[in-house]
């Protein structure tokens, strides 16, 4: 297991360097003088301009600039936003909010996907299964902002079950509607994976063995079938985390939740290039780390993985 973890950690390093290099290269290719952009309409004096160029290492070659940026990330310095706030301060305030939204959304997604996916698999080809498959296709096709607006209009404005926006007071209770929206946007793929996986597991020898030993269905299904069917759903949730991050950006923007996603959403809308890049980098780092953690969990869940690679 230790070897597996080490190997996986070593694999993350080139990916991390490559991804940040790629984003940094895009920014480097950005047309225009960044110092002039900093001053807006005003003209900085020659001395000030040169001093700032030296301060931000803009006179250095690309790879040296990247090195400063990379070491900055490792020191925990993510740069500053367009308005001059440190990205770290913004993250400290917003990350817990997004984390709460993500936990609620993933909770809703998994609960629905596991329950409905299992029942669909057990009733394969019956009316419940077919209905759920059609519904899941519709959810896969609905872009998240459409789900968000429809939910906002019908559930919050028309039926008034929820408050249409969240705002500054963002307790767990206020987040139900956006969490449901985000959870539903992720649900369909997980549910279909769970259904397929349960169908496959039901045909396995050990399930037949369990039944032939005389075990009751209420023990075979949860213990022998469900546990062994969860792996594809968990693996997918790691790759799907990118969808979650984009979804969180859109949802937080629409429901006005003061999280990381909303910060990115506002920066995109106001065309604040440097802020956009900082927060996308934050998201990429989170994405890589989450995938690493899920891969390790995966190794724990399924001993075969540890030895194969």
């Amino acid at each position: 297991m230790v070897g597996y973890i080490l190997k996986r950690l070593l694999q993350v390093i080139p990916v991390f360097i490559g991804a940040t290099l790629l984003i940094y290269f895009l920014v480097f290719a950005m047309p225009g003088d960044p110092i002039a952009a900093l001053f807006g309409d005003k003209q900085p004096s020659k001395q000030l301009h040169d001093a700032l160029v030296a301060q931000y290492h803009l006179d250095q070659p690309f790879i040296v600039q990247y090195w400063y940026y990379l070491t900055g990330i490792f020191r925990g310095d993510m740069g500053t936003t367009f308005s001059g706030r440190s990205v770290n301060d913004v993250l400290a305030a917003t990350l817990p909010v997004t984390g709460r939204l993500a936990v609620m959304a993933i909770g809703i997604e998994f609960t629905l996907a596991i329950i409905i996916g299992t029942f669909s698999a057990l009733r394969k080809g019956k009316i419940f299964d077919n209905t759920m498959l059609v519904i899941s296709l519709i959810f896969i096709s609905l872009p998240i902002f459409v789900i968000a607006f429809l939910a906002q209009y019908f559930l919050a404005v028309k039926l008034q079950w929820f408050s249409p926006t969240v705002g500054a007071t963002n307790d767990w209770g206020d987040m139900w509607l956006p969490a449901i929206v985000l959870g539903l946007s992720l649900y369909a793929v997980s549910m279909r994976l769970m259904r397929g996986s349960v169908i496959d597991t039901l045909n396995q020898d050990w399930v037949r063995t369990a039944y032939s030993k005389g075990l009751p269905r209420r023990r075979v299904i949860p213990v022998h079938v469900l546990r062994n069917s969860l792996i594809p759903v968990i693996t997918n949730s790691a790759t799907n985390f990118g969808v979650l991050l984009v979804g969180a950006t859109v949802t937080e923007g629409i429901f006005n939740i003061p999280g990381v996603g909303n910060t990115l959403f506002q920066a995109i809308r106001q065309h604040e290039g440097s802020t956009v890049v900082s927060f996308v980098t934050v998201f990429v780092i989170i994405y890589v780390l989450v995938n690493l953690v899920v891969d390790m969990l995966y190794g724990l869940l399924d001993p075969r993985i540890r030895y194969v690679r």
Partner: protein
């Protein structure tokens, strides 16, 4: 043997007294993967429903005037703002007083063109990277797969957001398509690589090499044509994903400029008057969802048709 249209084989009887007969029709064309898949799909109503939707959307994109004579963005009367359906305007009016039906029809063009170009870019890059990595293996595989991992580690909508924010003054269909397709190829490459690895083992590849064809020639002539099936599935599904990506980027405000008609832009503009005039948001949303749904259904049908095991599982 009976006649020249079929070959009859007498096989061992299963039960005493009955003789099992195995008839092979000689005159019929031999079955292959594509023919089987087509025969399977042709029978399914869902296939024809999705094909009709795709065709209608393509027609809308190419010749919107076939569907509506109303100009979508000129001739908008502010007195019609958020108005309901009227004669000649079946879906009512937007906040700006433009005809929603006309705008929804004209919006198809952006989605289809960006979606198609982005998918072609993504599929071509994915095919090249995946085929080279899978076929040659060794250090090239290691290098290309790591490059793929890097692109895979950046969610492609976020990457496209960065590209479109950085190149804000060069916004057109091609930059948008490049921003989406240039980062979405990694999953395609993985699929192609896995399939090429499988096909590489086949006897016909060894035969081609033994007959003196070069490695690259073998890859182009024999390996890629036999590894194309999963690519077709992924391409259809990525078309749906690219259309969603275009709409999401337009919605976020980093798609094509707000003067370009697109479903994402229309949805984004309609959100300000969501409470009083939800229909301006709902109709383009329906158009977007149905288009995406058609491509996803098509992709899944093709996948099931090309995979005999999936067919058996149904």
């Amino acid at each position: 043997m009976s006649g020249d249209t079929s070959a009859t084989h007498y096989v061992a009887p299963i039960k005493d007294g009955t003789i099992a007969v195995d008839v092979v029709k000689i005159a019929e064309k031999p079955s292959n993967l594509w023919r089987d898949a087509w025969a399977d799909m042709r029978r399914r109503p869902m296939f024809w429903i999705s094909m009709v939707i795709v065709l209608v959307v393509l027609l809308m994109a190419l010749w919107p005037t076939l569907f509506t004579q109303t100009p979508p963005n000129s001739n908008c009367q502010l007195s019609d703002s958020n108005g309901g359906p009227a004669a000649g305007h079946p879906l009512g009016f937007t906040f700006q007083g433009c005809d929603i039906y006309a705008r929804t029809v004209w919006g198809a063009r952006t989605s289809v063109s960006v979606g198609l170009i982005a998918t072609i870019i993504g599929s071509v890059i994915g095919l090249i990277m995946g085929a080279l990595a899978g076929f040659y293996g060794g250090w090239l595989d290691g290098l290309l797969s790591r490059v793929g991992d890097i692109f895979f580690s950046i969610p492609y909508i976020l990457a496209a957001v960065v590209v479109m924010s950085v190149f804000a003054q060069f916004r057109n269909v091609f930059t948008l398509a490049f921003a989406i397709g240039g980062f979405a190829w990694a999953s395609t490459a993985r699929v192609v690589r896995a399939e090429v690895l499988r096909v590489r083992q086949a006897d016909f590849v060894m035969a081609s090499r033994a007959l003196g064809k070069s490695r690259f020639g073998t890859l182009i002539a024999h390996v890629i044509p036999n590894a194309i099936a999963p690519l077709l599935v992924v391409t259809t599904l990525s078309l749906a994903a690219a259309i969603v990506a275009e709409a999401t980027l337009s919605f976020l405000g980093v798609g094509l400029g707000s003067d370009t008609m697109s479903w994402g832009n229309d949805i984004s503009q309609a959100q300000q008057s969501l409470r009083v005039a939800p229909m301006a948001l709902i109709y383009p949303s329906i158009a977007l969802t149905i288009t995406v749904l058609a491509f996803i259904m098509l992709g899944e049908l093709v996948r099931d048709a090309l995979d005999p095991r999936a067919r058996a599982r149904r």
